[in-house]
């Protein structure tokens, strides 16, 4: 932030609105320009970027590295999916069920996992997520396990709009994305967000300034988990499918990859990382079934050479005020 008598035009809130507003505008315009295949991809990317943004709240801003976020994504996905599939709920209450289930799961996991730190935190979150994945398999009678289940086109109508229509789907994804981006942008400028950064930078100092570190971390897990769940629920709703694949370790690693690649601790990094990774995998899967090789190589290269990610490089070289 820039203290002192700077003008409103260079103030943090104004810059934030300008930056994030133009990104949303750009995404809206892209729908008119892009061919259908790519706009379909972009709808998917925007929903997944919400997942990455959720992950970033915890990893990028609070400094907690979770290897179990697929659990929160799946909590949202199955919260919506199961209520719609078995209880014939319509999308709005389904979405609510998804959000609540992600919130409850993250609150419980947070209260347990936060008793550990560092590597132990990584392993504990990994284990909980693995237990969650296996539970989905165990309850195959309801969840249809690996096979998953399809949400019927006729049920996927929100306030009269048919979510299977490409334009409606794109608009819904964009709305969710914009809402979450705005939320994160406000959050990181808020007192709460700044405290999270303080905890990331120097936990002991933050505690000795009188901050309840554990409570802040717990709230961060909840915000992060609920955003991830929102993404999972929206994914099931917009693309009509829920399956156990989305609860595997791989889906815990993906948001980590997206955020690392895009730039941890930046508001726009998650989107950038998701776009890049999505297309890298999309392109490489045309040539080989071993497309995850790309993910592995990129992860190693990032750890070796660019831990701050793409947006981190932009912040360092070009735009120091990048939120």
């Amino acid at each position: 932030m820039t203290p002192g008598g700077h003008s409103f035009l260079s103030s943090a809130p104004f810059r934030s609105v300008l930056l994030h507003g133009s990104i949303v505008l750009l995404l809206a315009l892209l729908f008119g320009v892009l061919p259908e295949y790519h706009s379909g991809n972009l709808a998917r990317i925007m929903v997944l970027a919400v997942y990455a943004m959720g992950y970033n709240v915890l990893f990028g801003y609070t400094g907690l590295l979770s290897l179990g976020h697929a659990l929160f994504f799946a909590a949202g996905m199955y919260g919506l999916g199961l209520t719609m599939y078995w209880l014939d709920a319509s999308p709005a209450p389904g979405m609510l069920a998804g959000l609540i289930s992600a919130l409850v799961v993250s609150a419980i996991i947070g209260s347990l996992a936060l008793r550990t730190t560092g590597v132990a935190f990584m392993i504990v979150t990994l284990m909980f997520a693995q237990a969650g994945f296996l539970t989905i398999l165990l309850l195959g009678e309801y969840t249809r396990g690996d096979e998953g289940f399809v949400l019927q086109q006729a049920d996927r109508v929100l306030f009269g709009f048919d979510l299977t229509q490409p334009a409606v789907r794109y608009a819904s994804a964009l709305m969710l994305f914009s809402l979450c981006l705005a939320l994160v942008a406000v959050l990181v400028q808020s007192r709460f967000g700044k405290t999270l950064v303080a905890i990331r930078e120097n936990e002991e100092r933050a505690r000795m300034l009188g901050y309840d570190v554990l409570r802040h971390k717990w709230l961060a897990v909840i915000v992060s988990g609920t955003l991830s769940g929102a993404s999972g629920a929206a994914y099931a709703l917009l693309f009509g499918y829920a399956g156990a694949t989305f609860a595997t370790v791989q889906y815990s690693i993906f948001p980590l990859l997206w955020v690392l690649l895009g730039g941890a601790g930046t508001t726009i990094g998650p989107l950038i990382g998701t776009v890049f990774m999505f297309y890298l995998i999309d392109i490489s899967s045309q040539f080989t079934s071993a497309y995850l090789l790309i993910a592995g190589i990129i992860l190693i290269l990032l750890t070796l050479f660019a831990p701050q990610g793409l947006a981190g490089v932009i912040r360092k070289r070009l735009i120091p005020w990048l939120p």
């Binding site: 932030m1 820039t2 203290p3 002192g4 007192r191 700044k194 405290t195 950064v197 303080a198 930078e201 120097n202 002991e204 100092r205 933050a206 505690r207 000795m208 300034l209 009188g210 901050y211 309840d212 570190v213």
Partner: protein, 237 residues
């Protein structure tokens, strides 16, 4: 009025007695120095006062309240501030944000008020021109001053400073002494200090800790004249 007191405060580490049954009382408004040879248990003792280190036995009261079981952050909220022996700032955040993080915890922390308080605190330590510098880019001495500003901005009732002048230049020590004297009008100060010059010129009373126990307590002149202190500490130091 007694602001802070301990009864029988002790800390054992796996067979080692770091602090042994210390009874200690600090009057509101006083400047107290805590001295003693290396390994006397000074840092452990203040660590237990502010809650960074859990005590093995004994009691801590602050403003008449038993705070022994209270976690560190709540003790700070009651009006303690603490600066670390080894400088601890938010190295990748700028100077202003470092102090603002300390200021935002106070009641009524509207952005304008936080900014004003931060600037006041930075002026007191002479860092008002460095607001945009990353804390990690400051010189070591300036980082220490920054940490003191982070304490000041909280307007604490009790300010605990763990070896604040370590690594400061002569001129910086001079202004530090003046700062402490100015502060004494509205806050109580507990100073762990090795620099005897600073101790003798600022402290009203001195407590000497040796092998985890209180060896002596008194005014600077009494301590200077105390034989036990002479032999345990000053003489050998």
């Amino acid at each position: 009025m007694t602001l802070l007191a301990t009864q029988g405060l002790s800390k054992h580490y796996a067979g080692l007695q770091a602090v042994e049954s210390v009874d200690f009382a600090l009057q509101e408004g006083e400047i107290r120095a805590l001295i003693g040879p290396n390994g006397a248990g000074k840092s452990t003792f203040v660590g237990m006062l502010c809650g960074r280190i859990p005590s093995s036995a004994g009691q801590v009261t602050f403003d008449g309240r038993d705070i022994t079981a209270m976690p560190a952050h709540q003790r700070i909220s009651l009006g303690m501030a603490y600066t670390f022996q080894i400088t601890s700032v938010f190295a990748r955040l700028d100077v202003h944000e470092n102090v603002a993080l300390a200021a935002r915890r106070l009641p009524d922390s509207s952005p304008q008020r936080v900014r004003r308080r931060v600037m006041e605190a930075l002026e007191q330590v002479g860092l008002q021109d460095r607001t945009d510098t990353l804390a990690g880019d400051l010189s070591y001495g300036h980082q220490r001053l920054l940490e003191i500003a982070m304490g000041l901005v909280q307007s604490p009732r009790l300010f605990i400073l763990d070896e604040p002048t370590q690594g400061l230049a002569e001129s910086e020590i001079e202004s530090f002494k003046n700062l402490i004297k100015r502060l004494s009008s509205h806050t109580t100060i507990l100073l762990i200090e090795h620099n005897m010059d600073v101790v003798m010129q600022t402290a009203q009373r001195i407590t000497v800790l040796n092998f985890g126990q209180i060896l002596a307590e008194g005014s600077p002149s009494e301590i200077r004249a105390n034989d036990a202190v002479q032999s345990a500490y000053l003489g050998s130091g």
